[in-house]
Symmetry: D2
Subunit: 366 residues, 4 copies
């Protein structure tokens, strides 16, 4: 860091260190004596990506700091919502930027592509840090040729991402915070017994409606009944400690207690104390979805740019990105939470004293 | 409304009344025997606009219903925030659609333009209803050739927009709700005296820093001091009943008490009971800004499409839309609210008992 | 169609048939006596989709008409480019609209979801028509439970999409047009012999650079050499009638001659007569990519809305949409064309008389 | 520039100089001992803007190089179209980025705003260079307090923008290129006499239709006739050297001959030799429009951020940006070109030999 020295009035170019910033674009094709016009775009796109990654990490670190405490004051949840909302807006820009990169034609890319080998965006340490801080763990990652994802990083960079893997991630912290939700049990009122009763009634009605449907063949009835039983099993897994894992599929999964809390927050989001937590969980799902979209857009672009050609690394960029988009999930449970919803009309009513405890101290409405 | 009749399984095309929907595109150029390819686009763009306007009115009516009561339960503010958030997303689509309309070249437009005279998007009743329900009043409107804005509407349509003018608008209801904010005075704690003290200190520091700046000429000092005094006068208008109107400029303006409440909500948004009101006010400003952007994009498009040609109505579409974008404001106070902010470090601290009353009943943090 | 009657001045609401258009929203939940606020959004989103589909078909039909002739005048290619460019802009709106639909929470969807069964967006005839007119054929489609895709359509709708399957599609017409490209052979100048020579030189250099690389293990060398040989085989398939199919994977594939023409157009796009064909092929790939993105966004949304719940039809919407996004391709060859590019510096130079024939008659540059 | 040294395999972080890039964010608030979270966003947003400005200049310089020659080969126009198309996509990102900046609330901005005075985005040299290279000239600029726009720049920066002012701008080069269009006169065929005849017929029909309209009052007839005469005068200015300036209003204006060429290119865009010039002119208008939108979005944001507060410079950012959006135009003639269009059905047919000269040498259509 520079030492602070007495200075005259602040000048825009000095403030944002423009000379240094605009001195970071060194085209390899120019170094090799045959400058390729479009390499500048390639550099600038990656640099703007990295600047935005820095900003995402900045916001993410602020959210992590909020949830790292053993107790999270309710008044801090609003700020966390603002930070996550900003990440979502940044991601919209990241996705929009793919359209700019796509103005480079494959033929123009070939003019300098070989000069870059083996450098690759896959080596972006900041992006790996984002993934790790969100909660991605080594075992969840798609592996390229049996080599760990750190194998293409410098030692120093590998150390940084490994350190981040060991810290409590946003996934861990949110899981803990959800588990501490005080509204999961309320003396006499056993929410889950009530909820289970409503689920059972819903499933019974589904079965009856299938059986009494005159337009279905016996075979169709059997298929549809099997679907109802599958749903019943998944619900059972949410309720019972003895049952299986509530959610399967790629990505990490919340503990049963955390999942129940997330469910409660979504089902009763109108209660004042649950509204911001509801917003926060929705934003975490948005963030995950946007990274998926961004990877899918990049997969399409990789196909367009280098086709199905097998790279020197033995895989095609398209294939890797497409499979990573499918596999690299952290908050999969939040995206699929609606699997366990029941219609609002069938929801157990919260007893008045429970609802009252979820409200504001100041009671006179305006 | 159609009568409900016994029916078989619901079919997608019947559900959304596809036959009827896709039978509404009658090209005037075809009726005149020289079908113009691009007229279809012109019709479809306007029809999708109108469908979205219907949806915006649907959301707006829900928000109006919430705030129409003499007391608004805090748990309803969250839903209002969701409705307004949806309007903002719809507006993003409306703005994006301008890009589609711009794929029509002026030459293609000329192929059917004369067939449409004097029909004009300016006759969209739903858009006028949106404006009126938000709170635009007759006197705030840009007037075309001394004729009221209803002069180009059918009698029936004119009656509808006039009826909407007479109902309490969102502006009126929000103003009332803000005025009822219970936190404007708290027994011993006189927030506004404290705030004024902080403002005065800030202005005094500004004056001192100008006077002691060795790099400014006497003339520059005078100019800058005049700026400080202008700021001081505007602040005075917020505080004192005797002073002038706090905010000037086009658009409607809140009462002093409502303005003070909006200010308080923004300055102390982290207090749980203020966070959703803060989000709501921000979204109202977003909605206004998006309509401004949409009008500006249409003004640009009108210029491109028909140039500066003077229409049969005696005005150019470009000019009307550009001036309306500037003038047709309702929530101008919310967009300019920061005029009355002071840095957070200078904000009066709320006394503990005041803060506590702004919190949740449930006190154990998780 | 309505009969034309003498009329007064055209009124906006009459022109776009506003009354009819705004009378097409009949909420099933209202018919069942428990109106659900968000069903209106659900209807409007699908109706705007269908209006845009109508417009896409309108543009597509114009392009089909251009290419249906046995000879396509060069001056018509510019208009086809404008039509395709418009489709791309419409798709940007379709993708943006997903953000609006996502403002509906799963809980709100559950309020009316059961009322819609078994209606489904999968029954959109216009979307199937778009697919068929682009060139999708029955065998390329993902099949749901061994039932043809027409099984969920009404008889009349099934007949329409089947008729479209039998007509020459855009894929067929573009393939024919490419095959007729006059620049594939030029008397003495055998472009493909020259191109093949350049490819062979490139592959030989690749092999040599692998073998002489001191940092690679023998195993890594073997892997990378295998990659070069795979590339060599794919190139051979482009050149030789006896070799295999140049491109594999889901989607339809061009004849060898059409593929060669597409390659030539891309490699020499700066020659005036090839520039608009280059733009056109790029736009066809854009259109395909945008439908893929749109399906992927819908797959994400389906997951969010109903989770992994198995539908009454026995499949999850998420899964179907995700697999269709991967599989439903028509112009896959255009998206992967760069597989067969070589760097511009290695491209055979066109002889002057060949270049001259690709230019304008008017020779004095301005 | 760094000296090239022997190196190992290229690493992503070294390629894009990541350490240097991510070391350019020095928050003033941190230097002052009270770090403000949102200042990082403020810096990153401005840095990404500047990186994109560098890219825009890179593309612009390539286009300038193409048109700087005294003769522009037709095969270079396609590349210029690609460069301009890329600028348009970059601008979409610039506009999208405003949404990110707007996630900063005014209160958060106040935490560090005073630390930045008097630095301002108005001092962006790259943006001034873009304006100057496009063709903005000193006299076209909005002036702040009678001080030249260079007064807030360092001497070195002022020298750079002044140098750019003296070079031929894109406006100048395009004007020259348009004036050299060879199709403005063709031996016997006097296009402009034909066009004028068509315009006169159109105006005569307009007058007749007004006079014979039974629904108009005498006063309305007079108003509408005056509109026709105004249109007639503007058209006369396009045709006659003796008449006035064809286009008025802010921005620079083409010579009559260049304007005529632009008109011809638009009216007969389907002729092969005119299609790419038509695309190019449309993109120049797009670029101008996007900068206008970007300025308008910034004006809205400035209002939201600092309100109507008068800055130390004596003006409000909102006001400056809004007026600059209106005034800072270069290609105003292209945006308003449709003022001089007539319906296609009334366009003079080009004689066959003229059309043939506008076509390709290769005549057999495919």
């Amino acid at each position: 860091m520079e030492k602070e020295k007495p200075r005259g009035p602040l000048y825009y170019a000095d403030y944002i260190q423009l000379d240094r910033l605009l001195g970071c674009q060194q085209m390899q094709s120019a170094l090799h004596g045959r400058p390729a016009h479009d390499e500048m775009l390639f550099i600038i796109v990656h640099q703007t990506y990295e600047l935005w990654f820095k900003q995402i990490l900045w916001e993410l670190d602020a959210v992590l700091a909020t949830f790292r405490g053993s107790r999270v004051p309710e008044e801090d949840v609003g700020e966390a919502v603002l930070h996550c909302g900003r990440i979502v807006e940044i991601q919209r820009v990241l996705i929009q930027q793919v359209d700019v990169l796509e103005t480079m034609t494959p033929l123009d890319f070939l003019d300098f592509r070989d000069d870059l080998i083996p450098a690759s965006g896959i080596q972006s340490v900041q992006f790996r840090l984002i993934e790790n801080k969100l909660g991605m763990r080594r075992g969840d990652r798609l592996q390229l040729h049996a080599a760990p994802y750190t194998s293409r990083l410098s030692d120093e960079d590998a150390a940084r991402v490994e350190a981040a893997e060991k810290e409590p991630s946003l996934f861990d912290l949110i899981e803990g915070w959800l588990e501490r939700t005080p509204f999961l049990n309320f003396g006499d009122f056993d929410f889950w017994r009530e909820y289970r009763r409503a689920v059972d009634a819903m499933l019974a009605a589904d079965r009856a409606s299938i059986l009494s449907n005159p337009t279905l063949t016996e075979e169709e009835k059997a298929t549809q009944l099997a679907g109802v039983e599958a749903t019943a099993r998944r619900f059972a897994d949410v309720f019972e400690p003895g049952a299986g894992q509530p959610v399967a599929g790629p990505g990490r999964h919340f503990s049963r207690r955390a999942l129940q809390a997330a469910l409660l927050i979504n089902l009763y989001r109108d209660e004042p104390i649950l509204h911001l937590p509801f917003r926060l969980l929705a934003l975490l799902a948005d963030i995950e979805r946007n990274f998926t979209t961004w990877r899918q857009r990049h997969a399409q672009m990789a196909m367009r740019m280098i086709g199905s050609r097998i790279g020197t690394g033995g895989t095609s960029g398209h294939e890797y990105l497409d499979r990573a988009a499918e596999r690299h999930k952290v908050f999969a449970d939040l995206s699929a939470l609606s699997s366990f919803f029941i219609p609002r009309s069938a929801l157990p009513k919260l007893p008045p004293d429970v609802r009252s405890r979820m409200g504001f101290k100041f009671q006179t409405p305006r």
